[in-house]
Symmetry: C2
DNA sequence: ATATGTGAAACTGTTCACAGCT
DNA sequence: AGCTGTGAACAGTTTCACATAT
């Protein structure tokens, strides 16, 4: 092992690392060699000490008086976030949201690849998608995950079917799930579940407007 | 005014309120009259005291020894979250993600309605969508927001265009924005900005898998 | 002079324990 | 006995101040 990984790292810090990585990638493409915590912070409306603290959980990457070297910090962040490898994803649900995610190409650049798509609707089975992917029946999840070395699952089914989809992924050995439906989704505690809840996001905005 | 609204309420508590509301709506539909904090908590893998604490920020809705009356608590939560009215939304970006959101019908039930759609691509202008909505040019944002009484904005454009889209919404008087692109999006501080960042979500899962 | 790295302080949010009703 | 409501203890996160290096 190489890093320090000493204390427990705040969850929110990990998510900000992802922001920093993105900005550093832009800077690297522009040929910028060095960047200060102040400049990174500015882009996302954060404070410089927040950026420095977040980075300090993983090591000392900067030079005092100078700032951070863009290319090496970028590489370190990619490594920390596990983006120095390819992650295959199983998408459950070939509906509205599922298909939009499949077509959304941005994440491919970071090494994420939706390698298999599943749906419960018999009429959708066999549909040919881009990149040689074909919609498969739910029963195939276990086999496909093993065959393709899939490590991440995305659940994009209607709320009522979410629990079942998550269980199928967990049963196939998937330990990291991104779930879109708003209803009940309980997984074994060794499985990392991250929920994207557009309904809750809109309702939080509604709360803000109604109570300000 | 009616409620207490005493202390400052944790942001995460608001988001959980949205969960509780959803479950209560299901229970009400089933004709369930009373529910305990323990039962509500179970559905989302939370603890009973968390549910009680969250609710207690807004008042005392339960009866000791009995639990919470489903229908009245549901109505109170709807009111607190501002769901007792209709919210019109301006969607900027008629691409992949934008169109999936437009077609995604779930949020309509909570009183949210995408009343106008905008895009910078001239070829998309004039495209007729469902519910009598037509794709309009960006320059129309100000007028449409005023005419239709739009209060919420959704940004679903490519990363490079996000800042501009957010500024156009803010300039039109929008005070609540939900943004999908991952790049820079800075808004005046009286505007509530909530970011949905799928890239950061995936990278957090990647981090988890790479470091567990 | 400039900018990082970090221990300690301040703050925010969660968990607990139990008093108070039904 | 059963379950809510909440102040107080605890834990986690952010902010600060400053020592340290270029």
């Amino acid at each position: 092992m190489s890093g320090k990984q000493r204390a427990k790292i705040p969850e929110p810090a990990i998510r900000r690392l992802s922001f920093y990585r993105r900005h550093l990638a832009d800077l690297a493409a522009l040929g910028v060699a060095t960047i200060s915590s102040r400049e990174i912070a500015q882009v996302y409306g954060l404070e410089p000490f927040q950026v420095r603290k977040d980075l300090s959980y993983f090591g000392s990457f900067g030079r005092r008086g100078r700032g951070y070297p863009v290319r090496t910090l970028l590489r370190r962040l990619e490594r920390i976030l596990g983006l120095d490898r390819r992650w295959r994803i199983a998408l459950v649900g070939a509906g509205n949201i599922g298909m939009a995610l499949f077509r959304y190409a941005e994440y491919r650049r970071q090494g994420f690849e939706i390698a298999a798509v599943f749906d419960a609707d018999p009429r959708k089975i066999g549909t040919r998608l881009e990149h040689g992917v074909t919609v498969q029946p739910m029963e195939r999840i276990g086999a496909a995950v093993a065959e393709l070395g899939i490590r991440i699952g995305i659940v994009a089914v209607p709320p009522g079917a979410a629990q079942q989809a998550a269980e199928a992924l967990a049963a196939a050995g998937i330990k990291a799930i991104l779930s879109f439906p708003g209803g009940q989704v309980l997984v074994p505690k060794d499985v990392a579940l991250r929920r994207v809840n557009l309904e809750a996001d809109l309702e939080a905005l509604s709360y803000f407007l109604a109570n300000k």
